[in-house]
Amino acid sequence: MSPRTIAAIATPPGKGGVGIVRLSGPLSRDIALALSGRRHLAPRYCHFVTFRDRHSQPLDRGLVIYFPGPHSFTGEDMAELHGHGGPAVLAGLLAAAREAGAEDANPGEFTERAFLHDRLDLSQAEAVASLIEADHDSAARAALRSLDGEMGRLVNELDEALTELRVFVEGALDFPDEDVDLLGEGQILERIDDLLGRLDRLRERAAGGVRLGRGYRVVLTGRPNAGKSSLLNALAGREAAIVTERGGTTRDVLRESVAIAGTPVELTDTAGLCEAEDRIEQEGVRRARETFYSADLVVFLVDAAVGWNEEDFAQWQRLPVDRRHWLWSKVDQAPKGVDGGGVSTVREGGLEPLTELLRTRLLDAEPQDALGARERHLEVLERARGHLETGRQAFAGYGSGDLVAQDLRWAQEALGEITGRLHSDDLLGRVFATFCIGK
């Protein structure tokens, strides 16, 4: 008798923006294909898809990843459907999976299957998930997140390349009487540059994956009364924000999840930017500016009826250069001669220009090979990069091996937060395997 294919919502309720429906068993691949509408799924690869039910009705957009057994979490064929929607959408995904042949998993059944298939290492994560949840130990939780798929493979590759370099460096330092002197041959800078290049590429792709995973963050900004709140309401399809004809209406940061061009977007309405006197308004402006740091795109609205003025310019200058974009608002009131490229919340089709902007600035710019990564991974890669960079400088400046060796060690310690620590003794093992060392 072939085992059941089980399905369950894997994300703890109320945690984060992404929800995962996890499948395990022989039908996993078929179900994933059916729901994603794809004809092929590359193993361990994040495909960005639209999930549809049996009647081809779209349910959500997100990632689908297929993990063939036996090298999966449970040891069986598995698939993960990463959606962005809330609990209701996730429940819809799960129902669709059931329709396609999956059965509800019993509590702990994934872990149990993992144990049964001797997948102890990875199953450790699941086995203690509940304990950890109870302990609110975020560091432990972060460490537990298993790394599957392409991302894991690439980080491990990078780690391996770094190990190889360290084998040469440490070998040259600890065995000066042997002929393994890479330091003297100056190849070391080249190899660090190579590592830096690979790391950057990986980071870019991982960042893409992180954005896909959590949805885009778009902030609406502009001078008071520019029409930010009206635009948010129009896109959300409800009166989420208070709108008045007076400037300074919005004081707080307000977030709404909407779908634009079929993509989940977290839209943020903020207080109008101005040199405020009022304490409350000042605080509003401060909070508005804070949202710019983590935004993928900052849309600066300029009232078409008024046009650009000096204050607009002053505020525009302070926006993050690489992510700012401006649009006319209230173009229905624009005097003749003003370029038509802007939005209107009263005119039919008046939101199209924003939709178009998001498509070109975000969706099309996304690397096609985004990786299933998490924010924490980005942070780790960033740190590893910093160490490689200082190591490079140290070697270029001092030319002495002990400093660069330390930077390489730290870079590897950083990657170790994803891949696991490499003990110095294991590194030595590699040195001995690579070179004929010893008197």
């Binding site: 304990l131 002990d402 040195v431």
Partner: protein, 622 residues
């Protein structure tokens, strides 16, 4: 029979000597028992002290007022500083010594040590009562009472020598093996394992064609290992270099079926960093030659130690190998090389104080713990001696952390990771290598050593004076400023290779990669700078240049380790933790790590496994 001894040390090797003298320096009434007083301080293998990681250990022993470094300086006949250009953190002094002179120097130090008695006798067994040690029993059932015992009799415990298909029970060449102790340890239920190592054949220097070989002279001025300047030094002689040849490899290859390693007669693990010539030839068949260092064993003996061709082939094959090496065509073998298998006690049964976890008052140091090398043995000896004396005083045990000393790296590695080959120190084992340098060994350890009572007055006074001088110089460098106007652009360009854009502290200038203290002195015309000795100037320069890095190292370390700096319950039941693999459970049970940080260094402990431990520890501790 008199009063009980506070500390009784068994064994007169490098560990035993340091243990006994350290305990005596701390005021403990100490007895050193060894089977032959004349062999105290004997170098059983190649007579060299120092090298990567080892010189740092020797200096740390020295900083605790130990014997080894001073004896090595006195007996040195060729000294080099390795890695001079690769940075101060990996700089290592290595001294080839005269075997006889070294032994003499050590014996003098032992004889001169107040409060230390010695006795020539073998030891029948330990005297145990319940779970604590009471002393030792000598032949004829003579009991010697002691409140603590340090065992350092590990030199080839239950040794078995292999050469070709011959095998014979022996300690190191020519000495009786200490069979009894190994058996006794096993019978007590301790975990005893076996290791292997080897030696090259020794040669008669008078039969070597020196003219054809490259000399490798030592350095001038003569570097030293001890912070204490030696009274006199021996004349220096060079080592020589030669290399194996394809013919030599052929000689090895054709005798491989007689090699006990390849025939399976030896199963235990040998050191990866010191492979036999058989290993080298088999594992790296493409290499046409391997370097051989011809090292003199002393000034008054023609014997030569050919470092690099350790072998356990039959004697005739050894001769074939030697004679295919340039310069050695007519060389006579004086002692044949051999492989030796011996017992050691799995050091994961020890506390970092080197006390056995299960037997109160018994300390182990040296090769018995699975290490190799004089320096490793000496470092453990000092530590065990200190802790035996402290145990007797009712004081808490002491050991340095991995951030403080190579000694700390050594004991932590031993008690958490255990060993699966003879453990040799290397600098890459130290995460905090930039801080654990030769030049600052005394600053790192002498103050704590003084507090422990193991550092004597003479050394302390000299250390304090040197430290004051260093601090004074550092004070000048940190406190004095240079003004661009006062210097002038041309002079700045000429002396430090670039302009001085703003008023700068001397220390900041010194941090520039291309700038040294000499240039600073010239540029600033601060006459005080000239008054410091070359040694102090060099130390200050290193301190200043490395300060930023070491600070960064600390922050990084704290960031990583803060989370791991949590104690693990002593009685944590690893088996009950669902999700840990069997292998990891076994390793954890053997080492019983005291903290998460220690656990993280155990083989196979992944981030996921650590999280499991963290969660369980937290649940238990609350």
């Amino acid at each position: 029979m008199g009063q009980a001894y506070a500390v009784l040390v068994v064994g007169g090797g490098h560990a035993g000597v340091e243990a006994a003298t350290a305990a005596a320096r701390m005021g403990a009434r100490t007895l050193l028992v060894t089977h032959n007083l004349d062999t105290i301080g004997q170098m059983s293998c190649n007579p060299a002290v120092g090298g990567l990681g080892k010189s740092q250990l020797a200096r740390e022993v020295d900083a605790l007022d130990g014997v080894m470094a001073r004896a090595a300086d006195r007996a040195a006949i060729q000294v080099r500083v390795l890695n001079r250009r690769k940075g101060p953190a990996v700089r290592a002094t290595r001294a080839q010594t005269d075997r006889l002179e070294y032994r003499r120097a050590v014996q003098e130090a032992v004889l001169a040590q107040p409060g230390l008695e010695y006795l020539q006798s073998s030891v029948q067994r330990l005297w145990i009562e319940g779970d604590r040690v009471r002393g030792v029993v000598l032949p004829g059932e003579v009991a010697l009472e002691a409140r603590t015992v340090v065992l350092t009799t590990g030199t080839f415990l239950a040794g078995r020598v292999h050469r070709g298909s011959d095998r014979e029970d022996a300690g190191r060449a020519g000495e009786a093996p200490s069979q009894g102790l190994a058996e006794w340890l096993r019978a007590q239920g301790f975990h005893v394992e076996r290791l292997k190592t080897g030696t090259p054949p020794r040669l008669d220097g008078r039969s070597i064609d020196w003219q054809r070989l490259d000399p490798q002279p030592g350095e001038e001025p003569l570097p030293r290992l001890s912070a204490e300047p030696p009274e006199r030094r021996l004349p220096q002689v060079p080592c020589y270099l030669t290399t194996t040849t394809p013919e030599a490899h052929q000689a090895v290859r054709s005798a491989l079926d007689e090699s006990p390693i390849f025939s399976g007669a030896i199963e235990s693990a040998g050191p990866r960093y010191c492979p036999s010539i058989e290993d080298k030839v088999v594992r790296f068949p493409d290499r046409e030659g391997h370097t051989v260092f011809l090292e003199p064993e002393g000034l008054h003996t023609p014997e030569v130690y050919p470092n690099g061709i350790s072998t356990s082939l039959p004697g005739s094959a050894q001769e074939g190998l030697v004679r295919a090496i340039p310069g050695l065509e007519a060389a006579r073998v004086t002692r044949y090389g051999y492989a030796i298998e011996y017992d050691f006690l799995d050091p994961r049964q020890l506390q970092p104080s080197l006390a056995l976890r299960e037997l109160d008052g018994l300390f182990l140091a040296g090769q018995i713990n699975g290490t190799t090398g004089y320096e490793e043995a000496a470092a453990q000896g000092v530590l065990a001696g200190i802790n035996a004396a402290r145990r007797d005083q009712g004081a808490e045990p002491w050991w340095p952390s991995r951030e403080e000393a190579y000694m700390g790296v050594l004991v932590d590695d031993l008690v958490t990771r255990g060993v699966d080959e003879p453990y040799r120190m290397l600098t890459s084992r130290a995460e905090h290598r930039l801080h654990l340098r030769e030049d600052n060994a005394e600053s790192r350890l002498a103050p704590v050593g003084r507090e422990l009572g193991v550092v004597g007055d003479t050394r302390w006074q000299r250390f304090e004076a040197a430290q004051a001088e260093l601090d004074q110089l550092l004070g000048i460098l940190e406190g004095q400023w240079l003004d661009p106007q006062q210097v002038g652009a041309d002079r700045a360009e000429a002396v430090i290779g670039g302009p001085l854009s703003k008023p700068s502290r001397l220390a900041d200038l010194l941090r520039r990669p291309e700038v040294g203290l000499d240039q600073i002195a010239r540029l600033s015309s601060i006459w005080e700078l000239e008054g410091f000795s070359a040694e102090i100037r060099e130390r200050a320069e290193i301190e200043v240049k490395y300060a930023g890095y070491i600070q960064r190292d600390r922050t990084e370390h704290q960031r990583l380790e803060a989370e791991l700096d949590r104690p693990l319950p002593k009685d944590l039941e690893y088996r009950a933790i669902r999700g840990l693999s069997n292998e990891v459970v076994q390793r954890l049970e053997a080492a019983r790590p005291g903290t998460l940080a220690q656990a993280s260094r155990i083989q196979g402990v992944t981030p996921a496994a650590l999280s499991l431990l963290r969660v369980h520890a937290k649940r238990r501790v609350g």
